[in-house]
Subunit: 206 residues, 4 copies
């Protein structure tokens, strides 16, 4: 009975992963809808139009990288989780909420990062990742406190790694939010740097 319970757990985790992967994959693909043909509303050559549209590409790359590292992190977190409870389901739903918002906040950055509204656009963008990062930390605590980990995983070490990771992410996004009030572009560049850091940084050895 114990082993069958373990199997049932696995199956539940699997379906949550499928649903989450769907939302991640879909959100990351929807980003492209905000890249528009630059000649639709203006004259001038296509080449010039694409160059002028660099904020849209800049925002696209930043969001793509950020969603990708978050998907990788999500993927890694699930390799340690044996069992999911309802609290986990809803915390995960909260996390997906902010993932889903990303195409919208990205479009705000694309449209406004070189206008007088760049502070607002960057602040909204940074805030949404800040809340995502906060949710991430809460999920890590939840997994640890509710003992949802695989028996083979060292719970203390998991908690330490998760907490440190969440603090680093939170710290960076708080900084990006503060920076948004001085320079919108600098804030978005910092967010891109965070994604690059997670992609190649010290947490990457597994």
């Amino acid at each position: 009975m114990d082993s069958s319970a373990e199997k049932t757990d696995k199956k539940e985790t699997g379906r949550l992963e499928t649903f989450s992967d769907g939302v991640f994959a879909f959100a990351i693909t929807l980003l492209v809808l905000y890249l528009k043909d630059p000649t639709a509303n203006s004259s001038g050559s296509l080449f010039q139009g694409l160059l002028n549209q660099w904020p849209a590409f800049f925002a696209f790359v930043t969001s793509f990288m950020t969603i990708l590292i978050m998907w990788v992190g999500h993927h890694e977190m699930f390799t340690y989780v044996r069992h999911i409870d309802r609290g986990f389901l809803f915390l995960n739903g909260f996390l997906l909420f902010f993932v889903t918002l990303t195409p919208f906040t990205t479009s705000l950055v694309a449209d406004h990062i070189i206008s007088s509204d760049s502070h607002t656009a960057a602040a909204v963008y940074a805030s949404s990742f800040l809340l995502l990062s906060l949710t991430w930390g809460i999920i890590g605590r939840h997994i640890f406190r509710k003992k949802l980990l695989l028996a083979s995983v060292d719970a203390e070490s998991f908690a330490r790694t998760q907490t440190r990771g969440a603090f680093i992410g939170l710290g960076f996004y708080v900084l990006a939010l503060a920076l948004a009030f001085f320079s919108g572009i600098a804030s978005v560049v910092l967010i891109l740097m965070v994604a690059v850091y997670y992609a190649v940084g010290p947490t990457s050895q597994r």
Copy 2:
């Protein structure tokens, strides 16, 4: 042979779950396309524009929460189901039909909830969830009557829980529909409350 039949059943259930998860995940992510850059059609600051756009965020959150709890319920229902027949496939398709409609009905609420058409928008919104909830109840009956449950599940208890859940949902959405003719906003607030109730309410202990 019995155990191989059980395995085949599992596999079929799995694919229906994948398809359904896809539709749930896409529908929940498509909601974001109706959040628009508020400065596209008006002057004024981005910040003011985002504040003025609160009905769109309100509708977005309500629909996101509602689809999420429905996905959780769908997920839980499938943990009890051993076998699917054609009737189940089409009832499930009917359920997905209303899930798919949600981004459209949400956009009606977003555009009209503070206009003179708020009654119509809220009525359409509540009706689509009402029909979804009705389909849900019919699926529960179908599973019970056609004996599609896992052998380890107490069928009577399953039927009682499903019936009660469906009645509560139906009751709330009928109320929301009636309320729509008096106040569109009150109706949508009630629908949001239903989602919160299912998320934290008494049916949540598993």
Copy 3:
């Protein structure tokens, strides 16, 4: 070695199913994007606008039902298939091509079914399902001729069922195409009837 080969086959089938399910689920969900807020471009009440928009709902329901029965058929076909080859992969890709086209052809029906262009819109709509149906028949032949069936499946009976199903589908869609030149609406109604027939008709006992 034999049983491990069988397992590898299963895994490949599984991934093709996941990809196909994704395309089916996504195409069926994208249909909703062509339902537009009717008051965006006209004055008048929302209620009147929704009523006037009945061709969009009619096309939406027809396409939703048709994609759904095709997904069910796809699902059933795969329960008989043990092994996939490259030809199968590309034929399946061809089938998905027409599934993917459906949101576009549906929008043509929605926009033109009550205009003077209704013949063209219905003819394009019927043609795309006709080609889909043709591809379906070719896939059935391919599975039979290349012996891709599970050992437990009676190949002759599979071929007979597939051929009959494909002929019925082809016949109906040829009729719908011919009808399009006389009445666009009648053609689309026939296509809706085909979907209902497959949903409840004699091929449905399994």
Copy 4:
């Protein structure tokens, strides 16, 4: 323990495949959103409008075919891979980045292939597939160098096949990029030919 490690690897591969399949499936389905009702912005019959819109269909078919063969190649590559590391995750993410871009570059081709900007549109289109192809080659090298292959796979033969495939693809796309500066249409036709070549060509025996 060895066999359980193998199983854990499998599970991780599976989830990366699910995520990738999601992105491939969404990107291929999103292409349809750039097929527009031709009568929305012009007078004239629907039939004439559809004929005039041939560049959109031409671009649609080319991109659909190209993404499809890439998905097939991705699918085949994964049948040889036992294990994924972080480098693989990010290289795969880079590959998906260009897959995601395809609906946008396709829309540029659809809008400009018969205008004076056809050179730019085709060059952007060819470049994105060139970079995709380059990423593909790097992934092949990575798999070989990091020994991520299944024990049953002949690594040398895998490396040779991958390298040859990558060189052929790269060569064709470099040619298509060069051709773009002389004739946009010729460049896109070549890209369509590449897809057809991979679909029916000598690499197709498995």
